[in-house]
């Protein structure tokens, strides 16, 4: 049975006379003493013959007419302009990016809620924080505070009021009296 299984993979080559001489000799030796292999080989040959002689089917008489109609129908349909398609997809991509920028998930609010400590976040982006504080200043007073010292005081005030963050290195040494004086 082992020989038979091994030889099964050569059946097609044997029937098509494409086996190399040594394998063919071996195949024929097994074939001579193994009735099962002989039966399988014979049946595979017969099936191959049957498949080659199956009834042939013909397309219906209306095939050509239907095909012509199909071609004409699709000719009338406007074809999608590939340039238009690319322009559309680029526009969609641009809109998507714009929306992403507007609804930036890494905005300052998100940063405030980030797992980083306020100290760490300030250390990571001191410039950004300064900008944020300035923005808050402007919102609160409605006017620009031109002087450097006043700005620093205001920064300290707003920051101490809003975030209670007393860890900003530059603002630690601002005198509280000065802050009180600068307040109206």
């Amino acid at each position: 049975m082992g020989d038979c299984d091994r030889m099964k993979k050569h059946i097609t080559d044997y029937l098509e006379h494409t086996l190399n001489p040594s394998t063919q000799k071996e195949f024929e030796q097994v074939l001579g003493k193994d009735d099962h292999l002989k039966k399988i080989t014979s049946e595979v040959g017969r099936i191959t013959n049957i498949l080659g002689n199956l009834q042939s089917l013909r397309c219906s008489d209306s095939f050509n007419v239907k095909l012509r109609e199909k071609i004409l129908l699709n000719r009338k349909l406007p074809e999608k302009d590939p340039v238009k398609k690319y322009v559309l997809s680029i526009s969609f991509a641009a809109i998507f990016i714009l929306i992403l920028v507007i609804l930036n998930p890494f905005s300052s609010e998100e940063t405030a809620n980030s797992p980083l400590t306020p100290e760490a976040s300030m250390q990571l982006s001191p410039e950004k924080n300064k900008q944020n504080i300035n923005q808050v200043d402007n919102n609160n007073t409605g006017e620009s505070l031109g002087g450097r010292d006043i700005k620093t005081l205001e920064e300290a005030q707003v920051h101490s009021d809003s975030t209670k963050d007393k860890s900003v290195p530059k603002l630690k040494h601002v005198d509280q009296k000065e802050i009180q004086e600068s307040q109206p």
Binding site: K8, K9, I11, T12, D13, L15, E16, I40, E43, V44, G45, R46, I47, T48, N49, I50, L51, G52, N53, L54, Q55, S56, L57, R58, C59, S60, F63, N64, K66, L67, K70, I71, N74
Partner: protein, 211 residues
């Protein structure tokens, strides 16, 4: 191995009988000769129908797919380059469409049950076969074989149809299904063994009757 010279077989596409080759026809069609397309349709419609029908087991769907194949050829005629044979190209298109249909069926869980359709009345039996009993046996055998082919996994089904029903060489099959030559040979052998296993009873019955 004997091969019947019937319409199951793919056209050889050569100009041995003074006919233009497939490649000449498609070149003419690419230059705007619509008659060349008609000749290609005439040459390939029946062999393609047999190929797709054996693959799907449904004649109406098979004809629709052959229509779609020719439509794709018409629409994409400029994609054909003469690096491959025209027959390889058109059979690849038809095979891909047939496989897509098979996948669609799987998705929709439609199991095609072979049913009598009006189009099947068009089946023409060979003229030389005048013995009615033989004719009936032939139809029964055909149906049994079609059932066995349909039960094969698609990758085996495709190669066995291309090789044994359509008569393509292994090299051509390798180009059509884009699979290495060795894999094609192995699949053909395994498909034949499976068919032998499924259809073995046919030969046992014949022996019983003979005894």
């Amino acid at each position: 191995m004997t091969k019947a010279g019937n319409e199951n077989q793919h056209p050889q596409g050569s100009d041995t009988k003074g006919q233009p080759s497939d490649e000449e026809l498609i070149a003419r069609f690419q230059q705007g000769d619509a008659y060349a397309f008609d000749l290609l349709v005439k040459r390939y419609k029946d062999p393609l129908l047999n190929f797709v029908y054996r693959f799907l087991g449904d004649l109406i769907e098979a004809e629709d797919i052959v229509q779609e194949t020719f439509y794709r050829v018409y629409k994409n005629k400029h994609y054909y380059k003469e690096v491959a044979k025209f027959s390889t190209w058109i059979y690849t298109i038809a095979g891909n469409l047939a496989k897509t249909e098979l996948r669609r069926r799987k998705r929709k869980r439609i199991f095609s049950i072979h049913k009598e359709s009006p189009a099947e009345k068009d089946i023409e039996l060979p003229d030389h076969d005048e013995d009615p009993e033989k004719e009936v046996n032939s139809v029964i055998t055909d149906k049994l074989i079609q059932k066995a082919i349909s039960s094969l996994p698609p990758k085996f089904r495709q190669v066995i149809i291309l090789r044994d029903v359509q008569g393509f060489s292994y090299e051509e099959i390798s180009s059509i299904i884009r699979v290495p030559l060795g894999t094609v040979k192995s699949r053909v052998n395994r498909a034949r063994l499976r068919l032998q296993d499924d259809l073995s009873f046919l030969f046992d019955d014949v022996k019983d009757i003979a005894n």
